[in-house]
C-alpha cells in the first residue's frame, strides 16, 4: 500500500490529537532505557478526557448480529477495552470473546488506511474526493444494475442504502453468513410469519437443542449463555436439564447433561417422536396430533438409530417439564432438510405449550431472505444484469462455498466497490475500496430486536483516513443528483441518525428530544419492552424423510466455532490463539474423527487426511475426538482465507469448499465425503492441551444433583458414590496445617504486613462455567498479554494468564463421554510454592493476600514456574512485547499494566491495577472499598457470571459467601498451598463417572 496524500493516522499524529503523557502506553517495558520523550498537549482540552483516568462510552458491538451493548474504556483518547453495557438488556454488562476482540478490528494493522483504486491489478491510494467522484459517476450510470450488498447492518444505514439503491432502480441485497434462513422459512410455514422468535433459556426447565449451538454462534449467544446459566446453573437445589441432539459434540453439547447423536439427517423424526410423547400427554391441535401420530418411540428408534429407551425417557422428561424449550437451526446440523427440522421443533414447542412463554414472537421486526437473495444476486451477476455493486460488511466470496461460483459471477460486474475495513476476499476482487470507519469511530445505530434500539457513537478519532460509509453514500447521492439526491439528503450521517432517533423519540412519547438523545448516548441506546405477539398454527406439515446427504462414506459437517464465527474473526490474533473451547486447537483448522474411525483409517493426531466430496476436496490434520459419531467427520469454519490480513491469509483450508450450494431457502452445511489418508504427511496441531484426562486428580470436580441438593460436600459426595475416602490428613499433617496458620499470622505482623488488610479471593462456579473462553480474551485485553503465534504455541508457550482446561470423563467402556471445563489462573496461594524459591523476591506475598509478581525485579530463573503446581506462570521466552503489537495494535495496550520484557516471568495478578485504581478512588473519597465496586477482567466478562471476585475478609462480600458453599473445593487441596481461588463443583444430572483414583498412568495420553 502506498501512502495516501492525506497521510494516514500515524502514531505521531495520533498523539497530537489525544495528547497527554500516558499515551503510547507501557510499550517500553521492564528495564529498557528510555529515549527522549515528548509531551504533546491537546490543542483543545476535551472536558471528558482526563489523562490518567479512564473514560467510558456506551456503544454497540458489531462483531455478530446479536448487537450487544458495550462500554468502551478509553484512556487519553484511545479505546483500550470493550466491556459489556450493564444497561443493555442483551449483554447485561457482559461480553463474549468475539466482542472483546472488536478492538483488534479497530487497531488491526492490516486495515485499509485510505480509499484505494485498483489500476492494472495494483492498488493505488486515492483521495476521498476522487473516490466519491468515481462512485458518483459509476453509480449514477449504473441505474437498475446497481446492487448494494449489506451484511448484518440494520437501522438507519440500511434504510439509507435501500433508498440510494432504489433511487437508481437498483436493489439492496441483505445477506449475512449464518443468517437463520431455515428458521424463517419454517416459521413462515408453521405460523405464517417469517420472523424469528426469541428464546427464554432462563425460564426453561428442560432445554432440548437439536443442532442449535446457542452458546457459540446461533442466535444471541451471550444472552442465551446468561439464560442458560440462570436455568442450568445449580441454584437453590435445582437446575434445568439440557439435552443436545446432533452429530458432534460442540461447546453447547459439552455443557449438556446428555448428548444424543442420531443418524445424521434423521433429527426430524426424533423431534417428532418427542412431540408424539408430548401430544400423547397433553393432546393439542388435531393437525398437530395427525402430524406426529406415527412417530412412536419404536418407529423413531428405527429411523434415528437411537435406543427406544432413550427416546422414550427424553420425550417423557420433556413432556413432564414445564416450561420446556426446544431449539433448532444451528449451522453445524443444517441439513438440506433444515426447514423441516425447524418446523418440527416449532410443532414440538407448540405441543409443549412453550409458544409465548419460552418461545416469544414479535421481537424480530426484520423478516427477510438471506441465502436465496445472495444466490439470486449471483445469478444476476452471472447473467450480466448487474453493472455496479457495493459490498458492506459482507464477504460472500469467502463465506459462500466455492461451488456457488460467486467470485466468477462477480468478475462479470464492471464496477465493484467494498467498504471493508480489511482487504477481504471480496474486496480483493473489487475495483474500489472505500474503507468504512470502525464501529468505534462512527455514528451508527441498530435495532437488534423490537424495543431495543442500540446506538453507536465515535469514541475516538479515526485511526486511519477512513470515511463513514453513510457519509460517503450521502455525498455520492448528492453528486449524482436527481432522485438519489432527493432520496438521501442530509448534511451528514450523524444528522440522519439523529433524525431517525427523533422519530423514535416521538414514537416512544419522549417529551424533550435532547434529554432522550443524551440518555440514549449515556445508556448506549433506548430499551423498551416489546409486546409478545400471539401466534397460531398455520400448518402442521412436516416431512420427516431423512435428509438426502449424498453417497459418500462419511457424513461431513462444517461448523462455526465460537471464536472465528464465519471467518470474520480470523484476523484477530486474540481469537486465533484463544484455543477452541472444545478441541483446544489454535492457529489452524483440523479434521475431527472419532477414535474408532481413526483406528479404522489408521491415522493419528496430526496426520493429514484428504476429504473429497462432490463439490471439492480438502486436506487437514486429524484431530481424534471422542465427541463425534463414528460415521461423521467435521471441520471447523473460518480458516482458509486467501486475503484478510497477515493473521488470516493462508492459514488452513476453508471447509466450505466441500459443500454444494443448491437452490433453496438455506445453505446446507452438511454433505458426505470420502476420507483417505495422505501418506507421510503430518502437521502438528498447536494444541494448548497436554493430557486430556485428569487421571483422577480431582481438578475438575462434579457431583450429582441429588447430592448438591442435599448439601453434601465434595468429599461426602465422593464417598457416597462408593469411592475410597478422599485425601485424609495424618495427625502430623493436621498439626502442620495449624502451624501454618500461626506462622502466617506471625509473619503478618512485620513491616507492611501489620494491621488490617483485605484478602482478595476468587470463586469459580463450575456449574455455571460453560468454557466459552470470554474470560481469556478479556484477560488478554486488560493485561497486555502478547499473542505468541503458532510455532510458540506448539512449544507450549502461550501466555494465557487464565486458561480453560477441558478434561474428558468417561467415553470408555460404554460410559457417556463428558467434557468438564475448569478455568485455571494463578491461585494466589497463601503458602505459595512459587514464592520462597525466587532468589530475588520477584515473587512474594503482598499484605492484601496477592501473590505478587514484580516484573522489573525478575531475573528469570523460572524456578517459580517449575514449582507452581497449577502451572499458571508464563515466561517471556522471546521479545513477545515487540512482536505481538505491530502498530497500531500497540495503541490498545492498557497504560496501567507494564508490558513485560523478554526474560521475565508473568502471571495472573488478580488485575492488581484495578485493585489499586479502586483503592485510589476510595481513598480520595475517604471511604472504604465497597464489595462489587470493581471486579477483575475475567469476572467482568463472564457471560454466565461463573467468576466472582472480592475481599474474603469482608463478611458481607459475595465471594466469601460463595466460598462457604458445600460445593466449594480447592484444586490439588492435598498440597495445602492455601489457594485464594475456590471452585464450586459442577453439578451433574447423572452420577459422575467414578474418576479412576490412584495410579492413572495407563490412562495418560
Amino acid at each position: 500500500m502506498s501512502e495516501s496524500p492525506q497521510q494516514p493516522m500515524n502514531r505521531r499524529r495520533f498523539l497530537t490529537v489525544v495528547g497527554a503523557s500516558g499515551a503510547g502506553a507501557a510499550v517500553l517495558s521492564g528495564c529498557s532505557t528510555e529515549k527522549v520523550q515528548k509531551l504533546v498537549p491537546y490543542l483543545v482540552q476535551s472536558e471528558d478526557q482526563i489523562p490518567g483516568l479512564a473514560t467510558y462510552y456506551a456503544s454497540t458491538c458489531t462483531e455478530c448480529a446479536a448487537s450487544c451493548g458495550v462500554h468502551v474504556r478509553t484512556r487519553e483518547g484511545r479505546a483500550i477495552k470493550l466491556e459489556g453495557n450493564p444497561d443493555n438488556p442483551i449483554s447485561r454488562g457482559r461480553l463474549c470473546a468475539r466482542g472483546q476482540a472488536g478492538l483488534q478490528g479497530l487497531y488491526n494493522p492490516d486495515r485499509v488506511r485510505t480509499p484505494m483504486r485498483k489500476e492494472g491489478g495494483a492498488w493505488k491510494a486515492i483521495t476521498w474526493d476522487e473516490a466519491i467522484k468515481l462512485l458518483a459517476e459509476r453509480f449514477g450510470a449504473a441505474g437498475a444494475g446497481l446492487r448494494i450488498v449489506a451484511g448484518q447492518a440494520r437501522g438507519t444505514l440500511t434504510g439509507l442504502m435501500n433508498r440510494v439503491a432504489q433511487a437508481q432502480g437498483g436493489a439492496l441485497v441483505r445477506w449475512e453468513a449464518f443468517d437463520r434462513d431455515a428458521e424463517r422459512a419454517a416459521n413462515q410455514r408453521t405460523f405464517g410469519r417469517g420472523d424469528l422468535a426469541t428464546y427464554e433459556f432462563g425460564e426453561a426447565r428442560y432445554i432440548l437443542s437439536v443442532g442449535a449451538d446457542f452458546l457459540e454462534t446461533w442466535g444471541s449467544p451471550l444472552e442465551q449463555a446468561r439464560g442458560f446459566a440462570q436455568s442450568h446453573g445449580f441454584r437453590d437445589g435445582a437446575m434445568a436439564r439440557h439435552v443436545y441432539v446432533g452429530p458432534r459434540m460442540n461447546l453447547t453439547a459439552m455443557n449438556a447433561d446428555e448428548w444424543l447423536a442420531p443418524r445424521p439427517g434423521t433429527e426430524v423424526a426424533f423431534v417428532l417422536g418427542v412431540a408424539h410423547a408430548v401430544v400423547a400427554r397433553r393432546g393439542g391441535d388435531p393437525r398437530l396430533q395427525a402430524a406426529v401420530a406415527t412417530f412412536t418411540p419404536g418407529a423413531v428408534a428405527q429411523a434415528t438409530g437411537l435406543a427406544a429407551a432413550d427416546i422414550e425417557r427424553v420425550a417423557g422428561e420433556f413432556a413432564a417439564a414445564a416450561p420446556s424449550l426446544a431449539v433448532a437451526g444451528g449451522i453445524g446440523a443444517q441439513y438440506p432438510n433444515a426447514v423441516e427440522l425447524c418446523a418440527a421443533v416449532n410443532l414440538l414447542n407448540l405441543a409443549a405449550g412453550n409458544i409465548g412463554t419460552t418461545v416469544r414472537f414479535g421481537a424480530d421486526p426484520d423478516a427477510r431472505e438471506g441465502y436465496a437473495a445472495i444466490r439470486r444476486l449471483q445469478e444476476e451477476m452471472a447473467g450480466g444484469a448487474v453493472t455496479a455493486v457495493l459490498f458492506h460488511e459482507a464477504n460472500p466470496v469467502y463465506a459462500l462455498p466455492a461451488s456457488a461460483r460467486f467470485g466468477e459471477a462477480l468478475a462479470k460486474v464492471p464496477f465493484k466497490v467494498s467498504t471493508a475495513l480489511v482487504l477481504d476476499e471480496t474486496a480483493a476482487q473489487c475495483d474500489l475500496l472505500i474503507p468504512n470507519h470502525h464501529a468505534l469511530e462512527r455514528w451508527d445505530d441498530a435495532a437488534p430486536r423490537a424495543g431495543t434500539f442500540a446506538l453507536m457513537q465515535p469514541v475516538m478519532q479515526p485511526v486511519f483516513t477512513t470515511m463513514h460509509t453513510g457519509d460517503v453514500l450521502l455525498k455520492v447521492a448528492q453528486a449524482i443528483g436527481g432522485a438519489s439526491a432527493a432520496a438521501a439528503s442530509a448534511p451528514s450521517f450523524e444528522a440522519l441518525v439523529r433524525a431517525t432517533w427523533q422519530q423514535l423519540a416521538a414514537a416512544q412519547k419522549a417529551g424533550d428530544f435532547e434529554a432522550f438523545w443524551r440518555a440514549a448516548l449515556q445508556r448506549g441506546g433506548h430499551y423498551a419492552a416489546a409486546p409478545v405477539q400471539p401466534v397460531s398454527l398455520a400448518s402442521a406439515q412436516v416431512d420427516a424423510t431423512p435428509a438426502a446427504l449424498g453417497d459418500g462414506e462419511f457424513v461431513f459437517t462444517a461448523y462455526p466455532t465460537s471464536m472465528l464465527h464465519d471467518g470474520r474473526g480470523t484476523n484477530r490474533p486474540w481469537l486465533v490463539e484463544n484455543a477452541d473451547p472444545v478441541t483446544k486447537v489454535t492457529w489452524h483448522h483440523w479434521v475431527e474423527v472419532s477414535p474408532a474411525t481413526a483406528k479404522r483409517l489408521d491415522v493419528r493426531e496430526g496426520e493429514i487426511v484428504r476429504l473429497a466430496s462432490a463439490a471439492g476436496t480438502l486436506e487437514g490434520p486429524v484431530y481424534v475426538f471422542p465427541g463425534i459419531r463414528d460415521d461423521v467427520v467435521a471441520v471447523p469454519l473460518g480458516w482458509g482465507h486467501t486475503e484478510y490480513g497477515r493473521y488470516a491469509a493462508g492459514r488452513g483450508a476453508n471447509a466450505l469448499d466441500l459443500l454444494a450450494a443448491p437452490a433453496g431457502p438455506a445453505l446446507p452445511y452438511v454433505t458426505t465425503v470420502g476420507v483417505t489418508k495422505v501418506r507421510n504427511a503430518f502437521r502438528a496441531l498447536a494444541k494448548t492441551e497436554g493430557n486430556p484426562r485428569q487421571l483422577g486428580r480431582h481438578i475438575a470436580e462434579a457431583m450429582p444433583l441429588e447430592h448438591a441438593a442435599a448439601g453434601y460436600t465434595i468429599k461426602q459426595s465422593w464417598e457416597k458414590l462408593g469411592n475410597p475416602e478422599h485425601e485424609v490428613n495424618t495427625e502430623a499433617e493436621l498439626q502442620a496445617i495449624e502451624g501454618f496458620e500461626e506462622a502466617f499470622a506471625a509473619a503478618r505482623e512485620l513491616g507492611n504486613y501489620a494491621g488490617e488488610q483485605p484478602m482478595w479471593g476468587l470463586a469459580v462456579d463450575l456449574a455455571k462455567c460453560t468454557g466459552c473462553s470470554a474470560c481469556v480474551t478479556a484477560c488478554y485485553a486488560e493485561n497486555n498479554i502478547p499473542v505468541v503465534g503458532e510455532e510458540e504455541v506448539l512449544r507450549g508457550r502461550e501466555m494465557t494468564w487464565i486458561r480453560i482446561e477441558r478434561y474428558w470423563e468417561g467415553g470408555t467402556d460404554g460410559q457417556p463421554v463428558e467434557g468438564r471445563v475448569v478455568p485455571m489462573m494463578c491461585q494466589h496461594c497463601d503458602a505459595a510454592p512459587c514464592e520462597p524459591v525466587c532468589p530475588v523476591y520477584a515473587a512474594y506475598h503482598t499484605p492484601d493476600g496477592l501473590n505478587g509478581q514484580v516484573y522489573n525485579r525478575c531475573v528469570g530463573t523460572r524456578y517459580c514456574a517449575n514449582n507452581c503446581p497449577y502451572k499458571v506462570r508464563y515466561f517471556n521466552w522471546k521479545a513477545y512485547n515487540w512482536q505481538a503489537f505491530p502498530e497500531p495494535l500497540d495503541l490498545q495496550l492498557n497504560p496501567d499494566v507494564t508490558v513485560r520484557a523478554r526474560g521475565v516471568m508473568e502471571k495472573c495478578t488478580f488485575c492488581v491495577q484495578r485493585i489499586r485504581e479502586a483503592q485510589h478512588r476510595a481513598k480520595l473519597e475517604g471511604r472504604p472499598l465497597r464489595d462489587g465496586e470493581f471486579t477483575v477482567a475475567c469476572a467482568q466478562a463472564c457471560p454466565s457470571d461463573a467468576l466472582v471476585f472480592g475481599d474474603m475478609h469482608d463478611p458481607e462480600s459475595r465471594v466469601r459467601s460463595l466460598k462457604q458453599s458445600p460445593r466449594g473445593y480447592h484444586v490439588l487441596e492435598l498440597l495445602n498451598v492455601r489457594p485464594a481461588v475456590t471452585y464450586l463443583a459442577k453439578v451433574n444430572h447423572r452420577p459422575a463417572p467414578a474418576a479412576a483414583a490412584g495410579h492413572g498412568a495407563e490412562e495418560s495420553h
Binding site: 517495558s29 498537549p41 482526563i50 507494564t898
Partner: protein, 196 residues
C-alpha cells in the same frame, strides 16, 4: 603467638563488619533543593543553552508564571489532584492568556509569537519531557497530592517556580528516592503498590 592469632581474627571480623554495615543506607539521598536563581530576571534572557535542563521548543519560564504572576501549579497541571497523570495544559489554556498578553520585552514577544503561530497552525508544541519514571513504576499523583498537600510538588520536582527552565532537581528515577520518603512517612513500601 596468641596476639597474632587475635590480630588475624580481628581483621576478619572487621571484614565481615564491613559487609554487614554496607547494608546501611549509604545511598539514601536527602532531597537536595533546586539551586535556581532567586529572581526571574537574573537569568540569561533568552536562554543560550547555559541553563540546566533540556532546551524547550518555547522558552517557557516557570519562574515568571509561577513566581512573578503567582499562577498555581494546578491551574495548568489540572488533573494532578484527581488522576495519576498531572496533565499538561492544552494550547487553548496557554492562549487563554496569551491572546491578550503579547510579552513585555522583545525576547518574550519572540517566544510568545512561537506559541501563537503554533496555535494558528493548529500544531501543538512538543515539549521535551523532563520528569518521567520507568514504565514499570506507577506513580499516582493524586494520592501524593492528597497526602502531602497541593504544594507538595517541590518534594520531588524541586522548586520549579524558581526555575527559568525546568530540570530534574532530584533523581526521582532512583527507587531509593521513593523508598526513603515512604519510610519517612510510614506508608507502605509493598512492591505491588507501584509495580504492576
Amino acid at each position: 603467638m596468641r596476639r597474632v592469632a587475635l590480630g588475624g581474627t580481628l581483621a576478619i571480623v572487621a571484614g565481615v563488619a564491613v559487609l554487614v554495615a554496607a547494608g546501611s543506607r549509604t545511598e539514601a539521598a536527602a532531597p537536595q533543593q533546586a539551586t535556581a536563581p532567586a529572581t526571574p530576571v537574573a537569568v540569561p534572557w533568552p536562554d543560550e543553552g547555559t541553563l540546566k535542563g533540556p532546551k524547550q521548543p518555547i522558552y517557557f519560564r516557570h519562574d515568571v508564571h509561577a513566581t512573578q504572576y503567582q499562577i498555581q501549579c494546578q491551574y495548568c497541571h489540572y488533573s494532578v489532584a484527581v488522576a495519576s497523570e498531572p496533565g499538561i495544559p492544552s494550547m487553548q489554556t496557554c492562549m487563554g492568556c496569551h491572546l491578550v498578553i503579547g510579552g513585555s520585552d522583545t525576547t518574550s514577544k519572540v517566544e510568545i509569537k512561537k506559541l501563537r503561530d503554533a496555535w494558528n497552525a493548529k500544531q501543538p508544541v512538543e515539549w521535551v519531557r523532563v520528569h518521567y519514571l520507568a514504565r514499570h513504576a506507577h506513580f499516582p499523583h493524586q494520592r501524593h497530592v492528597a497526602k502531602l498537600g497541593p504544594n507538595a510538588c517541590a518534594t520531588c520536582h524541586g522548586e520549579v517556580q524558581r526555575m527559568p527552565q525546568v530540570f530534574q532537581a532530584n533523581n526521582i528515577r532512583n527507587m531509593g528516592w521513593c523508598i526513603s520518603c515512604h519510610l519517612e512517612h510510614g506508608v507502605s513500601r509493598d512492591c505491588t503498590v507501584c509495580h504492576y
